[in-house]
Each structure stands twice: as C-alpha cells, then as structure tokens.
C-alpha cells in the first residue's frame, strides 16, 4: 500500500489544481483587484516552496523505506551507531532559517504596502454640488448582515469616535446607508473603516483583498480595490453566533459613471407609489398617528403595511425618517430599505432578489417575509428578523411596495448574482 503513496500524492496535486479551476466565487487564488493580486503573487511561490519541501521529506522517507527496510531483525545485524553530525545539523538549521528570512522579508514589504493608504480625490456630484471624495466606506457588522455607510464629507469621518462604549451604535448620519452590498467605483483604492454593533464579525471579499475583523468598539482600517466592473462575493468569516453561515455580502464594482449614477439615485428619498403621495404627506405630518389610508393598488397598501409592520425597525428615507429611532435588536439596527430593490440580494446577502430573467424573485421575498427564522435561524426579536405573522395579502402588498424602492440594478449585476 505504501507503493501507492507517491501516485496518490501526485494525484492529489492534480486534483488540487483541478479543484481550484472550477467556478468558485469565493476562491482566494483568483484575484480580481490589486491587493489580492499582491497577496497571490506572494503566496504562490511560497506554496511551491512548501510543496518542494514536502516532496523532499516524503521522498526521503520513501527512499529509506525502499533502501533500508527489513522484515525481521537478525542477530548481530546492526548499522553504524551514528549519534549525530554537527555539520548536517547546522545545515538544516540555517538553510530553513535562510528560507524563512527570505519569506519574512517579502512578507514585511507587502504588509507595509497593504497597510498604507493614499489620499485620492474622486469627483462626486452630491446634493450640495461636486465634492472631491477620497473613496471611503464605513462598514458596520451586526448579527447577521452588513451595513455600508458613505460619508462624502471627510470631516464627518472625524466624528467616528473610538473612545468609551460602543460608538458603532451611535454613528454620525451618513449620506448613503445601504445593506448587504458594498457598491464601489473600479480602479480606486476604497478605504474601509470596519466596526461592529454587537459581536465580532469579519469582512471578507476574497477576490478583492483579505479579511479584516469588525470588532465592537474599534474602527479597523482596511482597503479594497477592483480592476473590473462586477459583483464579488463575500462571507462573514469570524464566528458570530447562530446564523454565522448566513451572513454574506457582495461588493458591486461599477465604472465611475455608473457609480455616479448609483450615488445620485441613493441620495434621493424613496419613491412613493403613485397615488399615495397625499397619504404619505399626512402620515409624515401626523407624526406616526392614524391616517386614513388609500387602498387602491398593492404598492399603496404595501406602503401602509410597511409603516404598520416594519417601520419600527427598518428605515425608508422619505417615509419614516422623522420618527425612526433605531431598531429593537441588541445591535439597535436593521437594514436600511430606502433603495432596497436597487440591490440584487436580500436577507444579509443570502437570497437572490431577482430571477435570472431579470424579474423580481417574489418567491424569495415572500418566503422571507412569511417566516424569516426558517431561512435564517435567529433569536428574534433581540437578534435577527422576527416572524411577524403577516397575512398572505399583506405579504403580497409588501412585496409590491418593496419592488418600487428602486432603481432596479443592471442586468449584468443581476446575472452576476447567480452562482452556478
């Protein structure tokens, strides 16, 4: 059986390469950005050195098996009793040391590169006119979804405070708040400031860079960059409790023009379903008290249902922003839904929001609203979205309303969301 070892080992190398060749969206060896490429360029030669050392040791073992094995000991058959050889031992102390020193030097260089950031200026049109934006996203983890906050005014970032308590629970108001999908311009160094509202999570988009933990009470710097437009998958990688496996995210990299378009759309308040404007105005003016509702279309009824069932946790800018005061969860937050339908996934990045043909995936959305716990185990209401016991009609109406919270993402992004 020992004879099978070498072929088996070789086979496993072949299988290894083959295994990496199929379509694996989270593959760490298929970089799509500058930093992940740097990491890949460092580790690939080290993998080769490691393989060589392993085959050297395995080869020596097999050689000795072939050359020196005996089945039974014969009386008097003793080899030379060698107790050691200083020159050899010095050799296999210093050669590995030299290899390690070389690896260490390259590691050191890359570490300083990966931790350095540059000051960039990307012109962005905001409500206040054009600003020069050093691309920067504040990433906030909580059980079990990611929030992305965009501050176009760099001074606002100074207000992030890492003093006492958990400042992530009381962040300054951002220009754009979105969830589940990190939208970024291509070609730019996008700085991340990563924190958490509850337990430790880890933000990881393997194609764009390694991971960085989201630690409550800390604002950890990191950066990502994408070469080409596309949708890059990620997964929370620090065990964060019950539904850790169902905490995912995607980075959506857009051309600068598309990114500007996205920013413009996100800066606007949510669309109001046609015919519900008057009701919404009254609702906002009444500051949450009872207002007689229009009941004509599903989207109109959905808007009302949203204010009745969802608005205590979820914010839709232009609907409940006047009354919204955080969610009831331990984290104090629930995904911002203002432009919900402009994303391609929901429920913490785990469900597709659109079908491959581009139509809304009503099935996913309905089953999520029907019983979130069945899709994503949680400890609602403290952690995760509770089962609200909604009727089928209400679910239908809510889906109609949520679909209006666009703009709809591009066909390319919808197609890229499909994993196969």
């Amino acid at each position: 059986m020992r004879r099978l070892r070498l072929p088996a080992a070789l086979l496993s190398v072949v299988a290894f390469v083959a295994g990496c060749a199929d379509d694996a969206e989270l593959d760490t060896l298929k970089p799509e950005g500058e930093y992940s490429e740097q990491i890949d360029n460092l580790i690939d030669p080290i993998f080769i050195v490691a393989f060589l050392v392993f085959f050297l040791i395995l080869g020596l073992t097999l050689f000795m098996w072939a050359k020196y094995r005996v089945t039974e000991y014969e009386e008097g058959d003793w080899p030379e009793q060698v107790h050691g050889k200083t020159s050899w031992e010095i050799g296999w102390t210093f050669i590995p040391f030299a290899i390690m020193a070389a690896i260490g030097a390259f590691t050191w260089i890359l570490l300083s590169d990966l931790n350095a950031t540059e000051a960039n200026a990307l012109p962005i049109q905001t409500a206040e006119g054009e600003v020069m934006w050093d691309p920067h996203v504040v990433v906030v983890g909580q059980q079990w979804w990611w929030e992305y906050r965009y501050y176009f005014d760099a001074d606002k970032l100074e207000e992030l405070d890492d003093a006492n308590g958990n400042p992530a629970k009381d962040l300054p108001p951002a220009d754009i708040v979105t969830a589940g999908q990190l939208v970024m311009p291509i070609g730019e160094e996008v700085e991340l400031t990563i924190t958490s509202r509850d337990v430790i999570h880890s933000h990881w988009i393997p194609a764009l860079n390694g991971k960085r933990d989201a630690v409550p009470g800390r604002f950890s710097p990191w950066k990502i960059q994408a070469n080409d437009p596309g949708l890059y998958f990620g997964q929370c990688t620090e065990f964060c409790g019950l539904s850790h496996s169902r905490m995912r995210m995607q980075a959506v990299a857009l051309t600068p023009e598309d990114f500007q378009e996205w920013v413009t759309a996100q800066l606007a308040d949510a669309e109001t379903p046609p015919g519900a404007e008057a009701w919404l105005e009254a609702y906002r003016a009444a500051d949450g008290s009872e207002v007689e509702a229009p009941e004509a279309t599903g989207a109109q009824r959905g808007l009302v249902a949203f204010t009745q069932n969802c608005a205590s946790c979820h914010l839709v800018q232009g609907v409940n922003d006047l009354t919204y005061d955080g969610a009831t969860q331990v984290s104090g937050a629930a995904p911002n839904l203002t432009h919900f339908a402009s994303r391609t996934t929901l429920a913490g990045g785990i469900l597709d929001l659109y079908n491959p043909d581009g139509t809304l995936n009503r099935n996913n959305l309905e089953s999520w609203l029907r019983n979130p716990e069945a899709i994503k185990a949680n400890a609602a209401p403290e952690r995760g979205m509770p089962n609200l016991g909604l009727s089928e009609e209400t679910i239908d109406d809510l889906v109609d309303y949520l679909e209006t919270l666009g703009p709809r993402p591009s066909d390319e992004m919808i197609a890229a969301t499909q994993v196969d």
Binding site: T61, D77, T237
Partner: protein, 687 residues
C-alpha cells in the same frame, strides 16, 4: 506507595502511630488490596493512574469522534438540515473542547504518568496522592463539561461559542443558554487537574531521577514531557484568569468583556491565545517525544543529535510564547504587531524543521522495521510536515488574511493535532502496550488500523486545504450550492467514516490481541530490543517498578548494558534484555498506600460548578466534599501503617547528602516528603 509523607507529628521511626492517624476522621478505614475496582479507584500508583487517564480519554475520544461524524454528515451535502444551526454550533464547540482538553491532553498525560517515573528509574511520581487528585479533578471536570449536553435538554445547553469562545459573543446577551457557563467553569476545573499534574511531574523529573540519570541522560520523551509540564504550568493560569473573568461576566454581570461598557473584546483574544498557542505545543511535544523513542528502536540506531533534539524542544517551548498574536492577524492589531508576530511565527518553523530532519537522519542507514508502531511514527513525520508547512503559509500575514477562518486552517491544525499528536499517541500505544499489559497488539490488525486511519485522515483533511483556498469559511453549519464546495465536502465526509473504522479496528485489536496472548509465550521485559530504562523491568510493570535502583552512566543506558560497540564501530551483544532486566519479583517494597481523599476532594468541584450555575446550595455540598477531602488528606499518613511492607526499617539512613540523594532532597523540598519513592537498594532484596 513509593511516596510517604511524614505524619503530622514528629515520630521516631518505629513508634506506633496515634489512633487518629490510622483511622482518619475515625470513620473510614483505608482502602487496601491490589485487585478489584476499588484498587483502581483509590490507587495512587502512577501506572494505574496513567492507564486510567488513557481509558477515560478514549471514552471522551468516542464522544468527540461521534461529534466529528455528526459535523461531517451535516456538511456532506450543501443545504443539509441534519443538524440545526443551533445544534451545529454546540456540536463543533464541544468537538473542539473535547478533543483538546479531554482527549489529546489526557492521552499525553497517560504517557507522562506511566512513563516518566519508569524512564528516569523512579518508583513513582513525587506526590502520588496529588497524582490521583489531578486524574480525578480532570475526569470529573470532563464529565461536568459533557453533562452540559444532557442537562436541561439534549443539545440545548452545551457551549456554543467555539472552543476559542470569543468575546463578546460569549456573553449572556448572545449566548443565553447555560452552555458557556459550563465551558467557563468546566475548563477551570480541568485546569486545576493540569496544574497539579504539571507541578507533580516537574518535581518528579527534577528530584526523582535514579543515580547517574543527569538531565542530559533523560530520554527525549521525558524531556519533551517535562517541557510540556512547564508550558502547562505557565499557560493554564492565563486561561484560568480569562475564564474567571468570563464567569463573572456571565454569572454576576461584570463587564470584563462587554464593549458596550467600554471593554475591549480583544482582551479575551490576547488572554486566550497566550494560553492557546503554547497549548498547541502542549499537544504536540509529547508526540514528538514518543516518536523519538520509537524511531531509534525500529531503526536500530540511536536518536540522531540527542542534544539538538532536546534543545529544539526547549526552543519550541520558549518561542511558543512569542507567537500568540498570529491567531489575531486580521483582528486589527496594527501593522507593527502583525509584522513582529509574523516574523516570530516563521522563526518557530526552524527548530521544528530540525526535529523532522533529525528523525529522518535517525532512519538514514538504519535497519527499518515497519511494524505498526514505526508506521505510526513515520506517519507523524510526513503528516506533521504537511501541517507545519501549511503553518508557514499562514505565518505570512498577508496570505493569512485570505486563509484565516477558512477550512484551510481547519486542514492545517488537523494535520498538526491529528497527523502529529494523535498518530504519535497511537505509535506510543503500539510501542508500550506490551510494557503496560504484558502482551503485544496484533500486527495484522495494527496495520489495518494504521492504513485505514492514515487514508481516512488524508481523505478527510486533505480536501479541506482546497475547500479553504476556495473560500469556504469555518464554523458554518451549512453552505450553498454553486461555490464549488460540494465534491470535496463529500470526500471529506467519507474520509471521516474511514477514520472511524480505523479507530474501531484499534479497539477490536485490543480484545483480539488479549485473547491471542493467552496462547503466546509471555513478551518478556524487552520485546522490541529497546533502549530506555522502562524496558529494564518485567512486563507488565510490577507495582514497584524496579527491584533495585539502577545506576545510569549514559543515554540509552539499557541498550548499552546489552550491547557493546567495538573500536571499529561494530555492535556486539554482551547480554540479552532478559538477562539485564530486573525480574520485578522483589517483595516487601515500601509503596504509597491508596487513599480515598483525592477522589473525595475532586468530586466536590463539579458540585460547586453546578451550584454556581443553578443553585448556590449545591456549592455548600461541593464545598463540604472539598473540605472533607482536604482534611482527610491532611490527617492521613501517606503510607498505611497496617500495610505489610517489611516495616519502617528502611527509614533508617537519612544521613545522605541532600544534594546528591534525590530521596533526601525531595524530603527536604516537598511538603509531602517524597522520601520513599526513590529507590533504596537495601529495601528491596532482589529475588
């Protein structure tokens, strides 16, 4: 018992002991006798304690193994619902905690207890009753931990924060079940066992060596075990502090790890990994020691570079304290710390590599006999190499940001802990089985055991390298289709069952071999033509270990009593092992007497644990048991004046120089004087 302590009163040798000392507390008579279950439960014999460590650890190995199978069933296919997320998180947590604290550590303790006294030519460890205490404290602590699976509902109350149990996810807000309370208290209890054992074995190594057995004549195994005990001595207090904080956070609303109150959750990570990384070496060094004994015997050569082997072990032990933050490369430590720990982690590969090359050089030019023990030992050399090399790839901190918390890490540490530590322990089983039980394990079954285990192991954990590099996260209860994880997960799950079959064959082998042994001649003291002092007495080892003290003149003393090397380097036999070995037939050897009290004391601790979690009145019960155990112990003379052992005449000569006489030295240093453990040739007439 080899060890007696002086009674609390100053007595002249030969004086009758006062009544209360013979019947401590005036209620119970002392356990006595060498047969039956009581002779095991209350024993203070290091060999029986070692065997019990092994048996109990194998019981926990079954539990941890079944948990592993449950994990692999759940992950065999995407989107599986064999285990719910809630159960899965408990299962992977208890799998890790069980395998580390209740399987590998105690299996190493089994070898340490059984072999250290034998390898240094002593009659027992320095403090035999403390040895019993460490066994029972550990075992009851283990049962306490495992009971969380049952108490309060089947898989409702087990710890669910991972063995690393990061803050603040371990807080009541995020883990409201009692599981993490069990974790915090259970590991404090087993930690007491580890600490007691560490102190005991360190004193044994330093004070109980036979005449001429200098430190640099100790076998490599004893050296590695000694280093392990020092690591335990310094590492266990750190985790105990962390667990103590955690216990207060959870039970009494303290805020050591609560970020909302301004605490830094990284405090837990630092404390945990300052313990946790030396822990890795606590797991692996005993196995390095075992194969350093096995490979020379089955190569017919001495270990290559004895001193380098010892010093590289010491180097690993030291450097193991300077690498903990490599578990935290992505936690946001800052680039300076990350760089420093990245460098130190690479450096530790050097002494580890030295060991691997020294084992290979030991085999070079030898006469290699690949029986099961040797197969397992050589298996360690190649499998641990894979684990070591993958370790280097994530010492490279930028690469680690891609690899950490993926299955690549799971693959890595299983190659280290299973491929290194556990395979080495199996090598030890096959090698020392005849010494402990008087019969060899069957080689046919043994080879099936080895090959199934090694093939299953590689099937299970080899593909995890690929899964990790493909981006599969650790600690996820399920995964989605389409990310390329399906094939290799299925392969890994099949492999897990092959491992299970391999271990099952080991268990069958024990029974098969025991039956066959009845029809075979006795194995004799030295079945392998081996090198260490443990082979210089009868098999199974007699209760008193050695009939008379051995005077040691060199490394591999026993071998040099059998063989002589000519000036031209040829080896000549001058005696057979049977001739050199002691017959083990001495009578009247003064041995430490069994005692109830270590077990009584140990039994109190889980009650205190349950009391802290459920009802403080149980603490009173536990406290009473601890108090009764302590008082009984204090008032009980270490040796039983009623036992027949030729009287106390052998206490006569205490005028030796304490610097050279381990007996006298131990008696001076130790509160429980170790005066009788060291062997006095005059007390044991050779039969």
């Amino acid at each position: 018992m080899a060890i007696t302590e002086e009674p609390p009163l100053e007595l002249e040798a030969g004086d009758p002991l006062p009544e209360y000392a013979e019947q401590p507390l005036g209620v119970l008579t002392r356990p006595s006798g060498n047969t039956g279950i009581a002779s095991w439960l209350f024993t203070v014999d290091h060999k029986r304690i070692g065997i019990m460590y092994g048996v109990f650890a194998m019981f926990f190995f079954l539990i941890g193994g079944l948990e592993a199978l449950a994990i692999r069933i759940q992950l065999a296919v995407p989107g599986n619902d064999f285990l719910s997320a809630e159960t899965y998180n408990q299962v992977f947590t208890t799998h890790g905690v069980t395998m580390i604290f209740l399987v590998i550590m105690p299996l190493a303790a089994a070898f340490a207890n059984y072999l250290i006294p034998l390898q240094i030519g002593a009659r027992d460890v320095a403090f035999p009753r403390m040895n019993a205490l460490s066994l029972w404290v550990w075992f009851f602590g283990g049962l306490f931990l495992c009971s969380s699976v049952i108490i309060g509902g089947w898989w409702e109350n087990a710890p669910d924060g991972g063995w690393f149990n990061y803050a603040p996810n371990h807080g009541v807000a995020f883990s409201p079940s009692k599981g993490i309370d069990f974790y915090a208290i259970g590991l404090q209890i087993t930690g007491i066992g580890s600490l007691v054992s560490a102190v005991n074995l360190i004193v044994t190594c330093l004070n109980m060596r036979a005449k001429g057995m200098t430190l640099f004549r100790m076998p490599v195994l004893t050296w590695m075990l000694l280093i392990t005990q020092f690591l335990l001595l310094f590492a266990v207090p750190v985790i105990t502090v962390a667990l103590f904080f955690l216990m207060f956070d959870r039970l009494y609303d303290a805020n050591f790890f609560n970020p909302d109150a301004g605490s830094d959750p990284l405090l837990w990570q630092h404390l945990f990994w300052i313990f946790g990384h030396p822990e890795v070496y606590i797991l692996i060094l005993p196995s390095f020691g075992i194969i350093s004994e096995v490979i020379p015997v089955f190569s017919r050569k001495p270990i290559f570079g004895y001193k380098v082997m010892v010093f590289s072990g010491i180097a690993i032990g030291f450097m193991g304290w300077g690498v903990w933050a490599h578990h935290m490369f992505v936690s946001g430590l800052g680039p300076i710390s990350v760089t420093a720990f990245s460098m130190s982690t690479m450096l530790i590969a050097v002494p580890t590599g030295v060991k691997i090359f020294n084992w290979l050089a030991t085999m070079l030019g030898g006469r290699l006999k690949f029986n099961t023990a040797m197969l397992f030992a050589v298996g360690v050399v190649s499998m641990f190499t894979i684990g070591g090399l993958s370790g280097v790839t994530h010492a490279v901190a930028p690469a680690d940001t891609q690899q950490t918390d993926t299955y690549y890490i799971v693959a890595h540490f299983h190659y280290v802990i299973f491929g290194g530590a556990l395979l080495g322990i199996f090598a030890g089983f096959y090698f020392w089985w005849p010494k402990a039980f008087g019969y060899k394990l069957n080689e046919r079954w043994g080879k099936w055991n080895f090959w199934l285990q090694i093939v299953g192991f590689n099937l299970t954990f080899g593909p995890m390298h690929i899964l990790g590099l493909q981006g599969m996260s650790r600690r996820i209860d399920t995964y989605s289709e389409g990310f390329g994880f399906e094939l290799w997960n299925l392969v890994a799950s099949v492999g897990a069952f092959v491992i299970f079959l391999g271990v099952l064959i080991f268990v069958i082998n024990i029974f098969v071999s025991q039956r066959q042994a009845k029809h075979l001649p006795p194995v004799g003291p030295d079945p392998w033509d081996a090198r260490g002092l443990e082979w210089m007495t009868a098999s199974p080892t007699p209760e008193h270990n050695f009939d008379e003290e051995i005077e040691v003149q060199q490394v591999d003393e026993f071998w040099f009593r059998k063989y002589d090397i000519d000036d031209d380097g040829t080896v000549h036999r001058i005696a057979t092992g049977d001739e050199v070995a002691q017959p083990g037939t001495a009578t009247g050897v003064h041995l430490p007497a069994p005692s109830y009290w270590p077990m009584v004391l140990a039994a109190g601790l889980p009650f205190i644990g349950y009391g802290l979690i459920y009802n403080l009145w149980l603490c009173v019960l536990g406290g009473l048991l601890v108090a009764a155990g302590s008082f009984g112990w204090v008032f009980e003379p270490a040796d039983d004046p009623d036992a027949h052992h030729g009287g106390h005449d052998d206490h006569g000569d205490h005028d030796d120089d304490p610097d050279t006489d381990p007996e006298a030295a131990a008696a001076l240093d130790a509160p429980e004087g170790a005066d009788d453990v060291a062997i006095e040739s005059e007390e044991a007439p050779v039969g």
